[in-house]
């Protein structure tokens, strides 16, 4: 009996770690390939073909991206846009998601459909009108315009996400609190929000990455070097005459760093699951 369960545990363990290894390999390989290209000297890029690591490596691409291009500024712009967007969206979407989850009211389906509608249209279609409207408001070619547009585009999805997280939190918790004399808003703040922190963390993370890598609007609305975000900057490496793969990949690898830091910071919320403690306490 004991032996059987030990064998089973071993099999389970092997299966678990095997699966983990496969996921990690699948996730990492393309990124690893990007890193490899970024440290490969231009001359060896094609001549060595599919080697796993170049015979000679160079950090030249990194130094030229950091020192001799506008990339540091692009990064800064992207950070400003992404952080602002993700915070604004998460606050707005938490409120809206809570309303959709906890209230029964006329027009609720209509609101959901309206939110959904904003996701079902390819962006290309609304670019000409948005371009015109933003131009008249003086919001083209600056970061505020981007933040406003990104916020609008991400609200729907973030709201749905937050709604589903609120739905997952048992209703009796806040009802109990409200019977104890808390107002709804206090109950939301004290009881419900802590429970949905992992969800809010996930929402912040999603909106951050969406804004971080958005290309079409950033490309269409921004002209000046000083306002470009990093994804538009990446495009400049693809010329008509040659693609500077090395520098492009170096810039991409560098672009992953802020995202990694950001994800790392959010890990707390995503991993620990404050819920467990809160409910038990």
């Amino acid at each position: 009996m004991v032996g059987k369960s030990a064998a089973r545990r071993i099999i389970e363990g092997v299966g678990l770690y095997g699966a983990v290894a496969l996921y990690v390999a699948f996730a990492l390989f393309p990124i690893y390939w990007t890193v490899k290209i970024s440290v490969t000297p231009q001359k060896l890029l094609y001549s060595e073909g599919i080697k796993l690591w170049p015979s000679r490596m160079t950090l030249e691409n990194y130094s030229s991206v950091l020192a001799a291009s506008d990339f540091p500024r692009y990064f800064l712009n992207s950070v400003v846009v992404s952080i602002s967007t993700s915070l604004i969206v998460t606050v707005i979407a938490s409120l809206a998601g809570y309303a959709l989850s906890r209230f029964q009211f006329r027009g609720k389906v209509g609101v959901s459909l309206l939110l959904l509608l904003t996701q079902t249209f390819p962006l290309v279609m609304v670019i000409p009108p948005i371009f015109r409207i933003m131009g008249q408001l003086g919001l083209t070619d600056n970061l505020y315009g981007l933040i406003i547009i990104y916020t609008a585009f991400n609200i729907a999805f973030a709201t749905f996400l937050m709604q589903s997280f609120f739905d997952g939190v048992p209703k009796d918790l806040e009802e109990a609190a409200m019977i104890d004399g808390c107002s709804r808003f206090v109950a939301l703040r004290r009881i419900i929000l802590p429970l949905t922190l992992p969800g809010m963390g996930a929402t912040v993370a999603f909106v951050f990455t969406a804004a971080w890598s958005e290309l079409l609007f950033a490309l269409m609305l921004i002209n000046s070097e000083s306002q470009k975000t990093f994804s538009v900057g990446l495009l400049t490496f693809i010329g008509k005459f040659a693609v500077d793969w090395g520098q492009m990949m170096a810039a991409s690898v560098l672009a992953l760093i802020p995202v990694c830091l950001f994800f790392g910071f959010l890990q707390r919320y995503l991993v620990t699951g404050l819920t467990a403690g809160a409910v038990k306490g």
Partner: protein, 305 residues
């Protein structure tokens, strides 16, 4: 006196009712303002385009002509089929692999934090770059995939599948799966974390097996999140042109042309954004229909809970 007091109470009751009615709208208002001003207005303008015929600098009223052309456009049917294939293929793989990953990450094991950070990374890679990187991996000159496939005997020679009209779609799908697994994993993990542990404790005291716990506790609690993420992701994938555009540009010979890439081409290459709008309206209609079905299903699920 008494009358006015009754009035007062009445008034307060009315106020309260009104406040109760207004409360959800209060919570919703910032979201709605943003959406109506920034998105709905351009959207309506965009839909209006579909009644015009455009060239770069001119437009003329066309009534329903664009829709009539739509009905007999062979490229459209082909693209619809490709869209279905692209969406279903990407979605199913992303969802099941993502769910598996979420369940794995929910268990305690050595190095979990690091693993979690690593497997979420693809989501952070800009899609345009994802496309380029995967195009590299498929390139026979410098990428390993054709050689691996040749070695495994899947292909007779080490060539890129992106040049094959029958298999090219697998390229963007694979890239999309890689990119999309973290989305499901993160949301499902976050939802899984919100399930109170007592439920599992109670279940295991009742002697439920791991499988029973999964089907009786985990799945029902994940259901709202699953429904919403599957719905959103479907809509996104169906309208998502970037990966395909970067990797194959809809080629070879239109074999990876989806509705979304066709809209892009119609807007910027054939310069008829009226026709592009008409296609977009069709897509919008289909997706809303799909979403309504999912919302209904979700409602039923919620009621059952």
């Amino acid at each position: 006196m008494t009358l006015s007091r009754a009035d007062e109470i009445n008034r307060q009751a009315r106020m309260r009712r009104w406040a109760a009615m207004a409360e959800p709208w209060l919570y919703l208002s910032p979201a709605l303002i943003f959406i109506v001003v920034v998105l709905l207005v351009p959207l309506v303008i965009g839909i209006c385009y579909s009644f015009y015929k455009f060239s770069a600098f001119r437009s003329e009223w066309a009534g329903l002509d664009q829709y009539r052309t739509l009905a007999t456009d062979p490229v459209l049917y082909h693209s619809l089929y490709n869209t279905l294939w692209w969406t279903a293929g990407s979605l199913i793989l992303q969802f099941f692999l993502g769910l598996g990953l979420a369940l794995i990450l929910n268990r305690a094991f050595f190095g979990r934090k690091l693993v979690q950070a690593v497997v979420f990374l693809p989501w952070a890679v800009p899609t345009f770059l994802t496309g380029l990187t995967w195009a590299w991996l498929f390139n026979p000159l410098i990428g390993p995939i054709p050689h691996v496939m040749y070695y495994l005997g899947i292909q007779k020679e080490a060539v890129t599948i992106l040049a094959s009209p029958d298999h090219a779609m697998w390229g963007p799908i694979l890239a999309n799966v890689w990119y999309g697994i973290p989305f499901f994993a993160i949301t499902l993990l976050a939802a899984r974390k919100s399930i109170p542990t007592e439920l599992y404790e109670a279940a295991s005291i009742d002697g439920a097996t791991a499988w029973q716990q999964f089907t009786k506790v985990t799945l029902p609690f994940l259901a709202p999140t699953i429904a919403i993420t599957v719905m959103l992701r479907t809509v996104w994938i169906a309208t998502f042109a970037d990966l395909i555009y970067v990797m194959t540009a809809g080629g070879p010979a239109g074999s990876t042309e989806t509705i979304a890439t066709y809209i892009y081409v119609s807007t910027f290459k054939t310069l008829d954004k009226g026709y592009a709008s008409a296609i977009a309206v069709l897509l919008l209609f289909l997706l809303i229909l799909y979403a309504l079905v999912v919302i209904q299903m979700r409602r039923r699920l919620m009621r059952d809970m």
